[in-house]
């Protein structure tokens, strides 16, 4: 492989480009380096800026305003009520002239109104009955006797659809769905769909066709800023062209040695200190870093079942088994993360999303990691009581998180919803699951079934009202990206961000084209 050296290749492998003061030669004019003035051969770069404004869709009320008295069933009903109109419109349009054997499909309002032999369509929530799903009653019953089985990769009953059933449920009742058409469809509990078919002799609903709400309306780029400017009659200031955003996830800082060097390399790369001048100038166009979850390993307040009481590492036998043993607390990971962020923040604004392993709430929507965790980086955050519209350089966000960056609407999660959907379906394609989430208009469809979540009192906050321009999901096994198109011409760039700890990859997204590119940071091993 011929090595084509770029022009700037050996520039840094050369003698220093200023004249050394030698006792004999007269002092060189460029020998004065008190300031990084233009006499310096190396320019100092400034970072490109991008306007950033977060949305508070997933911020939960604090303190007493947060109630847990309501039932989760209400959440399903609210979701159905919110999405029913759009599904209805789509289904009506698709099936209004649907005929089989000169029988037209009729809309049925309630699941229980379906009559045998009648071709009709009905809207409801999908419920997947899977015996291998985690079942709270089983958990409680078995807890005292058996050690926890290893967590299942998939909930599907092996060997076919033996125990698994798909049901359609609405306020009135349930219908069991059968039919060959179901095999090819991606369905998980919680998706709102319209199904066309008929009831067969067994009382099951045989499905002929299925419709989902599909992508919601997509805001135009800069819509929010323009709207605000118009409302306040201000002139919109000139916007910069270009710029990029870097997305990384799964830093997985655990305090052990062995992961620090790649992190350092990442830090230096983003600061523009490492790499050649050509790289450095392209790095200066990166206007923000988004950390999408799992920055710490083993920092979740509720450890996985088999690790309860071990704090992520084997504990001495005399250590406390139940309850919290504060002597086992290791502050090194958080310190490391704080150090990383505080070294990065003077140069690059950061948005931090929590993930499954991060020290914040377990149930979705995970609340922002508290400022107290970052004693050094805290100064770059806005004070706790300030309005969310003015975040500091360091924005600690919820999971999932929605924000406007340089006019584009971004929506991101730390990966838990996609990982949960993965367990329901037989396929391996994560991009398809992410696309399905967009088409169902649900950021977390399997909540609250197998994904812990907050019982929203006023409707499901996970319902997508507006289609984002970029949908990124962190902590995926590998990098993938595609563009999802909607019926109204919406285009959403879907990005699966791999875990940095495993792959060393950082995704860089260009603002003008929304095309991703990768930067892989590695250490050469034989």
């Amino acid at each position: 492989m011929a090595i084509t050296n770029g022009s700037g290749d050996d520039a840094l492998l050369s003698k220093p480009s200023y004249a050394l003061p030698s006792p004999l030669a007269p002092p060189h004019p460029t020998a004065n380096h008190n300031s990084s003035s233009s006499s310096q051969p190396f320019p100092s770069l400034t970072r490109q800026s991008a306007s950033y404004s977060p949305l508070t869709d997933f911020t939960l009320p604090k303190g007493e305003a947060r109630h847990y008295q309501q039932q989760y069933a209400d959440m399903y009903f609210a979701r159905l009520a919110q999405l029913k109109p759009s599904v209805e419109a789509l289904a009506a349009e698709a099936w209004s002239e649907f005929e089989i054997a000169s029988e037209t499909a009729r809309k049925v309002d309630r699941a229980l109104d379906v009559r045998q032999g009648e071709l009709c369509w009905v809207i409801g929530t999908i419920y997947m009955e899977m015996p291998l799903k985690p079942n709270i009653l089983d958990d409680i019953g078995k807890e005292h006797w058996i050690a926890a089985p290893p967590p299942r990769v998939k909930f599907l009953t092996p060997g076919g659809v033996g125990g698994d059933q798909t049901m359609l449920e609405d306020e009135s009742g349930r219908l069991r769905l059968v039919g060959g058409a179901l095999e090819s469809m991606l369905l998980v509990t919680g998706a709102i769909v319209a199904v066309l078919g008929t009831e067969n002799a067994d009382g099951d609903f045989e499905v002929l066709d299925l419709r989902v709400p599909d992508l919601p309306r997509q805001p135009v780029r800069w819509e929010r800023e323009d709207g605000r400017a118009a409302a306040s009659k201000q002139k919109v200031e000139k916007r910069e062209e270009g710029g990029k955003v870097a997305i990384v996830s799964g830093l997985g800082i655990s305090g052990d040695a062995g992961d620090t060097l790649t992190l350092d390399l990442l830090l230096e790369y983003l600061l523009g200190e490492s790499a050649g001048s050509e790289d450095q100038s392209s790095i200066s166009t990166i206007s923000r870093l988004i950390v999408a979850g799992n920055s710490l390993a083993h920092a979740s307040p509720v450890p996985p079942r088999d690790e309860v009481g071990t704090n992520g590492q084997k504990k001495a036998p005399h250590a406390k088994k139940y309850g919290y043993d504060s002597s086992a607390y290791n502050a090194a990971p958080t310190d490391r993360l704080d150090l990383f962020l505080s070294s990065l923040l003077p140069s690059l604004p950061v948005t931090l999303l929590p993930g499954a392993d991060d020290p914040t709430s377990i149930s979705l929507p995970q609340q922002p990691i508290h400022q107290a965790m970052f004693p050094h980086s805290r100064t770059y955050q806005s004070p706790p009581k300030s309005s969310p519209a003015e975040p500091g350089s360091f924005d600690s966000g919820t999971n999932p998180y929605a924000f406007d960056l340089h006019g584009w609407r971004f929506l991101g999660t730390g990966g838990q919803p996609v990982d949960d959907i993965y367990k329901y379906v037989a396929g391996e394609e994560r991009l398809e699951m992410m696309e399905a989430m967009l088409r169902w208009r649900l950021v977390a469809p399997t909540a609250p079934d197998t994904l812990w979540c907050y019982p929203f009192p006023d409707g499901d906050a996970f319902v997508l009202r507006e289609c984002p321009h970029v949908f990124f999901v962190g902590n995926q096994p590998k990098f993938e990206s595609t563009v999802v198109e909607g019926p109204l011409g919406q285009q959403c760039r879907v990005v699966a961000v791999p875990s940095f700890r495993d792959t060393g990859e950082v995704v860089i997204l260009d603002f003008e084209t929304l095309e991703p590119e990768l930067v892989r940071i590695e250490i050469f091993e034989e």
Binding site: R47, L261, L265, E273, S393, L431, T482
Partner: protein, 453 residues
């Protein structure tokens, strides 16, 4: 250049056998990092010319690498993916076919830049794996070959510790770090002092905070009893105590002991305790830390003991903002005086948990004073007076149901319950959001005497 870099490197790498990265060099000599990289290269070359292998280097190469077998497969996986049933079904009907970059060798589609750290002995091999090299520079120098490359992260750690005093926004420009023009940083001054001060200030303003009244009282009690009955003070301490933001204060102990002498005297002079209260007020050094005293959870403190400690201590005043104490005292006094008579009247129907013959009024008052509540962080915890119904059989065989006030500890995070509460319950100094309601006159005729305070 103020300092000769060769000298610096000679000292650090050769003499002190340390690893020097371009970052440490740039910080030490206050130069641009690119310049530091050049310096490292130059030194490395010169030293090795003089004495081969005296100095080893690690390099950082950026560029695009040749697609490797270990990276994303170029088609093997995707081909399987297309055929097997394992793959998830075609997406939901209604969706347009999407371009799956994951299928076709995405490495070709997605430009991938590699940043590779490599030791000097592997440099040729590593450069051979690159298709196009955008940049190559020396990352660090060390005296011997690196056995564990992770040692390099130590350099950055040293930088952080050594140069922690530098203000990044000022100093980093000279190092060549990319500057963010819009960086928003809060002033690095002190955060608003811990919530201790505001409540003290607030109450000092003069409003009569019924809230804080009882807290310092209990506090004083527990302090004053230190000398008398160690048990009682131990028992008293568990009482939740706190103003707007309860914080533990170790300082509570020293002032307590300091005033023990006067306290003992005070404990016997109930009437004169008022005068005594003033003195410790003014004399004691106002220490804000004392105001929100120990926030110890209310243990299962038996009411009997509470009464013991409480009745004598009454309203001992601890150091704190003088006005604060005075206000509270006045309130407490008023409260206690008012309750003297009614409490005497209520014979058995008195509080049933109070079994001792001690002066009921003091007990009463003390009980009220002991009614505490910690600041909420969304939770209200503490002891409070609750109306409980007690059904007793009269002499004539009638069942009489009476309303009585009973102490109980509670912990809740809902808006203050609407139950009937004793009046001057020392609630939190926060604006009466947490204020307990006064005794509800309609509920029991006994309590109607206390009314609103």
């Amino acid at each position: 250049m103020a300092q000769d870099y060769s000298e610096y490197l000679a000292i650090n790498v050769l003499n002190e056998q340390q690893v020097v990265s371009y970052r440490t060099l740039s910080r030490a000599l206050k130069v641009h990092v690119n310049l530091a990289k050049q310096m490292l290269y130059d030194f490395h070359r010169k030293q090795n010319a003089k004495k081969p292998s005296s100095v080893h280097a690690t390099y950082l190469i950026t560029g695009t690498r040749v697609a490797q077998s270990t990276s994303k497969t170029n088609g093997i996986y995707s081909q399987d993916g297309e055929d097997t049933v394992m793959r998830s079904s075609p997406p939901i009907p209604g969706s347009s076919p999407t371009k799956q970059t994951g299928d076709s060798g995405e490495d070709e589609d997605i430009p991938t830049r590699s940043v590779l750290l490599v030791r000097q002995e592997h440099l040729e091999k590593a450069t051979a794996t690159f298709e196009h090299i955008a940049g190559k520079h020396v990352y660090s120098l060390q005296p011997g070959s690196l056995s564990d490359i992770q040692v390099l992260s130590d350099c950055n750690r040293r930088i952080v510790s050594t140069y922690a005093a530098e203000d990044p926004l000022v100093a980093w420009k000279q190092y060549g770090t990319i500057q963010d023009p819009n960086v928003k940083r809060r002033t690095q001054g002190q955060r608003p002092p811990p919530p201790v001060a505001p409540p003290a200030a607030k109450s000092a303003v003069g409003s009569k905070p019924a809230a804080t009244a009882g807290k310092p009282a209990t506090l004083e009690r527990q302090a004053s009893r230190a000398s008398d009955v160690s048990i009682s003070s131990a028992k008293a301490t568990p009482e939740p105590n706190g103003t707007a933001n309860a914080k533990k204060s170790a300082a509570s102990k020293p002032p307590a002991t300091k005033r023990q002498s006067s306290d003992i005297f005070k404990s016997f002079a109930k009437g004169g305790s008022k005068a005594k209260k003033e003195t410790p007020d003014t004399s004691a050094a106002p220490s804000p830390a004392l105001v929100p005293v120990a926030d110890e959870p209310m243990g299962g403190m038996s009411d009997d003991d509470a009464d013991d400690t409480v009745e004598d201590a009454e309203v001992e005043v601890r150091a704190g903002s003088g006005k604060l104490r005075k206000d509270r005292q006045a309130e407490l006094e008023a409260m206690m005086d008012a309750e003297d008579e009614p409490m005497d009247d209520t014979a058995e129907s008195g509080i049933d948990s109070r079994t001792e013959p001690g002066p009921k009024q003091q007990v009463e008052a003390a009980e009220e004073l002991a009614e505490t509540m910690t600041v909420e962080n969304g939770r209200r915890r503490g002891r409070r007076r609750v109306m409980k119904k007690k059904t007793v059989k009269d002499e004539e065989g009638y069942l009489v149901t009476k309303e009585e006030a009973v102490w109980e500890s509670f912990s809740e995070d809902e808006p203050a319950p609407k139950k009937a509460k004793m009046a001057p319950v020392p609630a939190v100094a926060k604006s009466g959001a947490a204020a307990k309601k006064a005794g509800n006159p309609g509920q029991g005729n006994i309590m109607s005497f206390f009314g609103k305070k």
